[in-house]
């Protein structure tokens, strides 16, 4: 099924920028999926090259074709439906059309791949060490005992503590970060020349992501490894990449040295992406620059610039032909935009509009809508038929918070720290084990039911949060019907009013959720949350399932709606920059507890708790050459919330833990300065 249009005979690799021959050369790669309903053109003419020991980042939103490009290098695309053409050469050898036997050998030996979800690539029924050993034995023919010894060495090398013991663990006994390390160890087992990492850190926490990024960088130097790092996160790219290619709709729109791409951006899409992500190293703007619309899905051959419908520069000529990459700067910096010389500054191209009067944190505190005191939610651990009374997962363990009218309370923390459970307790999806939640001063019933109209919730994945069999108008009207707020006629009016408010055509209510894009679906979810005129909206990771270019739209929408309705928001997210952008006050959670709570600017400018500091330092800055060497990195992963460490829960990972004190005495959450709460022995409130 593979057509080979490569010029035969051009067997020798050309030279890369460094003077060495290129390791990987892709030329005019085309991949289409011939599906029964339509033909999806996942990759339309991608050419790139990777030099030995270089890190090449392939950046793009979901569906841009970055994974598919690299899967075709690995020969891992299912065919049919995939039809691949073009040329892929590894050290001068054509990979496309290589017979299966050769391909398999090359796959384990010269090129290795690491995927986003390590659990799906590790065999759950075999011990980790054995899986690494097997790969060694197949590809390098080492003996069994030797394979085990090397497996331990590799696990140790990728930073698995007490590797000689953990080598006999099963994958499920590893944490997410350790599994990704094990995958990397397995990839390294055969000493490959090229490592392809497909979103290797997307499923991980920032602190663990930082560890993995560091690890790959070290290994790369040590093994002289070329790395292709596939990601949607421009922050990580800036940390790790030498060169970058930005993909969109199956095309490379801009490529070049990382520093050129970030500093002298020559494509409107790249500059839009860079402008639309909230950043920790810039002051908070009222409103993010946003890229309108949503990424396209290419089903017919491209004949115009694919970014045309979203581009502020789009003008004559953009529709006429497919722009090719042309050199725009030094060292191979090229852009596929015919108007690239007219780009001007990023801020004039993508202005950060001003919000409809968004108030900022200086004014006096408003009244408290939701007041949470000493909230505890424990989930019994169920073994067999019986739930054990003693052991429980302490998802939320003594949290006190106030949600203030018109303000946003941000909650950040790593996965498993109890953020979602806290949010769900507020809308009665989980029943607290202890503590109280008061809404407008009245303690509330913990059962679900009509009494909870004032607090509504927005979920992470808008699609799964909507009944697929219901029309959008019914989805949005559901809260109205539940709380009997409208009859049929007024409900219809209210729905189109809400649709307009969230920026959707008012007549789109007759369609089904699956007919909308991810960003539009999240708008529908926002409309539904607003339908019952809530006083508080709990947003649980509302943008993390969305495309990067669409996140800003939803963040801006939420801010605008807050300004207009005066509702309070609880914004739960793992992304510290996003939380900083939207919040007035931020609470940092660790293992079910709030460890620091402060007004936004105080928290981000002067973090007091060691965990807050570590979290902030782990966030990659989308700025190449940013000096990351001064950072302290957290070691290890979050301990299990089933038996949290004694004393300060953070002491197992705290870089400044005090011997003897922190592991035994639990620090209290104390008010250090007015409005600022920290729980750490090293941060004490002023005497008196």
């Amino acid at each position: 099924m593979t057509t080979r249009t490569a010029v035969a005979g051009r067997g020798y690799p050309r030279e890369g920028a460094s003077g060495e021959p290129n390791l990987l050369e892709i030329e005019n790669l085309m991949v289409r999926f011939e599906l029964p309903a339509e033909t999806v053109r996942a990759v339309s003419g991608v050419s790139l090259s990777v030099a030995p020991s270089e890190t090449f980042a392939l950046v793009g939103e979901s569906g841009s074709g970055k994974s598919v490009s690299m899967l075709s290098v690995m020969g891992l695309l299912p065919s049919p439906p995939a039809v691949v053409s073009g040329s892929i050469r590894l050290e001068g050898r054509e990979v496309l059309g290589m017979p299966g036997r050769l391909l398999r050998r090359f796959r384990g030996r010269d090129v290795a791949m690491v995927f986003q979800e390590p659990m799906s690539s590790l065999n759950p029924v075999h011990r980790v060490g054995r899986q690494i050993g097997e790969s060694l034995r197949i590809h390098r023919g080492v003996a069994r005992s030797e394979a085990r010894r090397q497996a331990i060495h590799l696990l140790d090398r990728v930073g698995i503590p007490s590797a000689s013991i953990r080598v006999d663990d099963y994958p499920h006994e590893f944490s997410g970060g350790m599994r990704q390390r094990a995958m990397i160890a397995m990839a390294l087992a055969c000493d490959p020349k090229l490592l392809i990492a497909d979103e290797p850190t997307t499923a991980l926490d920032v602190t663990v992501q930082a560890q993995i990024v560091d690890l790959v960088r070290e290994l790369q130097a040590e093994y002289r490894l070329a790395v292709v790092w596939i990601t949607h996160d421009l922050g990580v790219v800036a940390e790790i990449a030498d060169r970058v290619a930005v993909m969109y709709a199956g095309r490379i729109l801009e490529t070049g040295q990382a520093s050129d791409l970030y500093r002298a951006t020559r494509h409107p899409y790249t500059s839009g992406l860079l402008r639309s992500i909230p950043r920790l190293d810039r002051s908070v703007t009222t409103r993010l620059a946003e890229i309108p619309g949503a990424p396209v899905r290419v089903v017919s051959e491209l004949a115009a610039c694919p970014f045309d419908d979203r581009c502020p520069l789009a003008a004559d000529g953009c529709q006429d032909a497919l722009p090719e990459l042309e050199a725009v700067g030094p060292e191979g910096h090229s852009s596929a935009c015919i108007h690239h010389h007219e780009m001007g500054s990023a801020s004039s191209l993508w202005p950060e509009g001003t919000a409809a009067g968004r108030q900022d944190s200086e004014e006096q505190p408003g009244d408290v809508v939701v007041s949470i005191r000493d909230l505890r939610v424990h989930f019994p651990i169920i073994r067999g038929m019986r739930e054990s009374r003693k052991r429980a997962i302490r998802a939320v363990d003594g949290v006190s918070l106030d949600v203030v009218r018109g303000k946003t309370l941000g909650i950040v923390g790593e996965s498993g720290c109890g953020k979602t459970t806290l949010g769900r307790a507020m809308v009665a999806l989980v029943r607290p084990t202890g503590g109280t939640i008061e809404i407008n001063g009245e303690p509330i019933n913990h059962r679900s039911g009509r009494h909870r109209k004032v607090v509504q919730m927005i979920f992470q994945d808008p699609f799964s949060a909507m009944n697929p069999g219901m029309r959008v108008s019914d989805v949005i009207a559901e809260p109205l019907r539940i709380h009997r707020l409208a009859d049929a006629g007024t409900a219809r009016e209210r729905v189109s009013e809400l649709l307009t408010q969230v920026g959707l055509p008012p007549d789109s209510g007759g369609r089904y959720p699956h007919e909308f894009s991810g960003g539009q679906r999240q708008r529908i979810a926002v409309a539904r949350a607003l339908a019952a005129d809530p006083e508080v909206v709990v947003c649980d990771e509302p943008v993390s399932s969305l495309d990067v270019s669409v996140q800003a739209q939803v963040i801006n929408l939420l801010a605008d709606l807050q300004a207009r309705t005066g509702m309070a928001m609880v914004f739960i997210a793992h992304d510290l920059a996003v939380v900083r952008h939207v919040s007035h006050e931020v609470g940092v959670m660790y293992l079910g507890e709030i460890v620091e709570k402060a007004p936004r600017d105080q928290l981000y400018e002067d973090p007091l708790h060691p965990y807050t500091k570590a979290l902030l330092e782990a966030v990659p800055v989308p700025e190449p050459d940013y000096d990351a060497s001064q950072r302290t990195r957290l070691v290890g992963d979050v301990p299990s919330p089933a038996d949290p460490p004694a004393g300060c829960r953070f002491h197992t990972r705290c870089p400044v833990a005090v011997e003897g004190l922190c592991s035994t005495v639990k620090p209290a959450l104390e008010e250090v300065t007015p409005g600022r709460w920290v729980s750490c022995h090293l941060v004490s409130p002023p005497a008196g």
């Binding site: 099924m1 995939a82 679900s448 039911g449």
Partner: protein
Amino acid sequence: MTATGGEDRAIRRAVRRRSRLPTILGVAGLVIVGALVVTAVFAPWLAPYDPTERIARPFLFPSAEHPLGTNDVGHDLLSEIIFGSRVSLMVGLVAATVALLIGTTVGVIAGYYPKRLGSTLMRGVDVILILPFLPLLIVLAAYLGRSLLNTILVIGLLIWAEPARIIRSQVLSLRSREYVLAARSMGAPDRWTILRHIVPRTALLATGSFVRAVSGAILLEAALSFLGLGDPIQKSWGSTLYWAQTRGAFLTPAWKWWVLPPGLLIMLASLGFALIAFSLEERINPRL
């Protein structure tokens, strides 16, 4: 790509072949059931005689006038069997409806409240599933007395457990779907969530288990009537067999026209519904 292309194609072909079988069987089931329904509906026009009237001498051998002969009291057997389809189908459908109503209610409640209420209910379901079927059926039928209504009730009460089990497992997975959580987070009372988001989503599965229940109920009705526990006034296939048995037809050449046709029809009817159920279930969960 090329390496796995061949294997892929083979698998795909196998999958396609597998997926055609349920459709063929389903169509066969539909044809059978359709024919039976037509027979039942148009029985008065199809049957040559009134099955309750003595139209000839008893124990006649098959002839042109009476293709299946007559029974011990001189009723035309062909007409009796044609009218018998009405009772069999009716009991099958109504009993299955009863079973489905009970089963869905129990299944939905047990699945939605999986903790104390659910596990208690499911323990009851397990008991019913374990109980020896036929003896219980006989005892119940004998205790309640012989009437069509009692037959339906007894059968319905015995076969709801299987649909309840199937529906409960579906509800268990549905209740943790995010859109169900979303409805609850909006403040929807349980009844709302169940009626709007859970029950409609079990409809497909319920249809499958309904059809399967019909198939079972037809067999059980035949068994009861054959044992003489059916409604004495209603002429069903089972009761035809009962009279054939008491009049010794099983041991005479008469079995060929008195015993075989109703027996085959019982089998056919049950099979027809079972085939439809199979193809439906295959469609709902093709990996089974």
